[in-house]
């Protein structure tokens, strides 16, 4: 039992891990075909994994409605929203547009899903302002550097800011776009690169731990 419960899964990790790793160094047709096949498989497995989430969502909101828990009425909207996407998808066969214009799915995508997601995304504009108001206070030397970098970037991105810069600092013969260019390609690159290199090493080491079965927390216990 331990074999099929533990060792075979670990063997699967090892096999696919090593094969995928090796395919990077092997240009042969066999390796290309392997990569294509397995990435397609991964796609399919993820599609099923999605059902896991869907069932969890339905289960928890069905429970709320059944138990008449606090705010259970809102849970009905979860099912309404779900059907508002799935029924049009079925009617339109998964296509958003046809030669005559948009389909019903295109309609619900545009007026429901897209309206909601782009609004949520746009809310960020408000938060970015209030965060800036709260956090760009010069309380230390480090905060000062943070402030200056952000200030120049925000100023120099719009025409009016460029005009202001030119009228105040025009005598330096150094346009704000040049300064931005320098910040983005010199000190900011150094900062970002340092983070990236550190992360990549961490990722590599963790991947080894997964492939060699040292890291197996994701298997759950026993």
């Amino acid at each position: 039992m331990k074999l099929i419960k533990k060792y075979i899964p670990l063997a699967i990790v090892f096999t696919f891990g090593v094969l995928t790793l090796a395919s990077y160094y092997v240009p042969h047709k066999v390796s290309v075909d392997y990569t294509e096949l397995v990435s397609q498989w991964e796609n399919i497995v993820y599609a099923f994994a999605f059902l896991l989430g869907l069932i969890s969502l339905f289960y928890s909101h069905y429970n709320k409605i059944a138990r008449k828990a606090d705010g259970w009425g809102y849970s009905i909207f979860v099912f309404v929203g779900f059907l508002a996407m799935v029924i049009p998808a079925y009617i339109s066969g998964g296509k958003q547009g046809s030669e005559t214009g948009i389909t019903l799915l295109g309609w619900s995508f545009r007026y429901i899903y897209n309206a909601l997601s782009s609004t949520m995304f746009a809310v960020l504009a408000f938060y970015i302002v209030s965060t800036a108001y709260r956090s760009f206070r010069i309380k230390s030397k480090q905060a000062f550097v943070l402030f200056v970098a952000a200030f120049i970037l925000i100023l120099g991105k719009v025409p009016l800011g460029q005009i202001i810069w030119d009228s105040v600092l025009g005598w330096t013969k150094c346009g704000v776009s040049d300064v931005i260019e320098w910040i983005m390609s010199v000190p900011a690159v150094a900062g970002k690169r340092g983070i990236m290199i550190g992360i990549s090493i961490g990722a590599i080491v963790t991947s080894f731990k997964i492939i060699f079965g040292i890291e197996k927390q994701y298997l759950g216990k026993d």
């Binding site: 547009g97 948009i102 408000f126 302002v129 209030s130 800036a132 206070r137 719009v158 005009i163």
Partner: protein
């Protein structure tokens, strides 16, 4: 006393900030302010000059491939360039390879042609959405009616007055591609370079820097980047529109942020040293 007041201002209810931002961004939408736009960038000027020099009556192909997600930046670009084409009495053909853009195209032609009293079929034509852009682009090099035998409304494309004498790229003066995808690369690589037809692009602000090499080698005759590009083109065509109001909004928004962070630091200084 002053200190306490300032302290209070320091912890201002952030909903006031939200309101301020909303107002700042909304005003220009209702009425473009036309705040000073520093300079016209080189690539936009080139685009304008190129279009301006196309002789009247020539055929210009617009490929409008953007969906609502990139609408704020690209829609004004498309409108400004189509206005310019109409102003110069050019014939306009529109194709698209993104399903989501059909509605946006319809929106443009509901309004813009009327301003220049242009007539559908005679001065401009809209072709239906096609999947598989590269195949269509290649086909259009020999005979565009092989694909576009009908216009969007289902009428025979060949018999439309606007299409007289137009068979393939050789008969067109210019291709304008406005997109938030990699479609501009396709137009440059598969059409512009291969069949020697000039291409002008309109892209989002984020992808703009990537097209430097194409511009440098002249594979692109000009490029509009983001809201700023649209605003600049509008000021060249002298019809302020959504691009101008958009850049106004961004101007005001950015100044608001700068003002807020400056104020909060000044208050910090006063509290600390007074």
């Amino acid at each position: 006393m002053l200190k306490e007041k300032l302290q209070k201002f320091f912890k201002i209810d952030r909903r006031w900030i939200f309101l301020l931002l909303a107002v700042m961004l909304f005003i220009p939408i209702m009425k473009p302010l036309g705040l000073p736009n520093k300079t016209i960038s080189r690539d936009v000027q080139h685009s304008f000059d190129f279009m301006d020099k196309v002789p009247a009556g020539s055929f210009v192909l617009f490929s409008l491939d953007y969906d609502p997600s990139t609408r704020p930046e690209l829609h004004p670009q498309a409108i400004a360039m189509i206005r310019h084409a109409f102003k110069k009495n050019l014939r306009v053909g529109v194709v698209t390879y993104i399903a989501g853009s059909t509605g946006l195209i319809a929106e443009i032609f509901e309004k813009v042609p009327k301003e220049y009293s242009k007539v559908y079929g005679k001065d401009y034509v809209v072709f239906p959405y096609m999947a598989n852009p590269v195949a269509v682009m290649t086909q259009m090099a020999s005979d565009m009616y092989g694909i576009y035998n009908k216009d969007e409304a289902g009428a025979d494309a060949r018999s439309l007055p606007v299409m007289q004498g137009i068979k393939n790229y050789k008969d067109m003066a210019l291709v304008v591609e406005i997109t938030g995808t990699a479609m501009l690369d396709y137009w440059v690589a598969y059409v512009g370079d291969k069949y020697h037809i000039p291409v002008i692009g309109g892209v989002t602000g984020i992808s703009q820097p990537g097209y430097g090499p194409y511009l440098q080698r002249g594979q692109l005759k000009g490029l509009l980047g983001g809201m700023k590009g649209a605003a600049e083109y509008e000021s060249l065509v002298k019809v302020p529109g959504k691009g101008t109001s958009g850049i106004d909004s961004l101007n005001l928004g950015h100044l608001l942020v700068l003002a807020l962070i400056s104020i909060s630091n000044i208050i910090l200084l006063i509290i600390k040293y007074l």
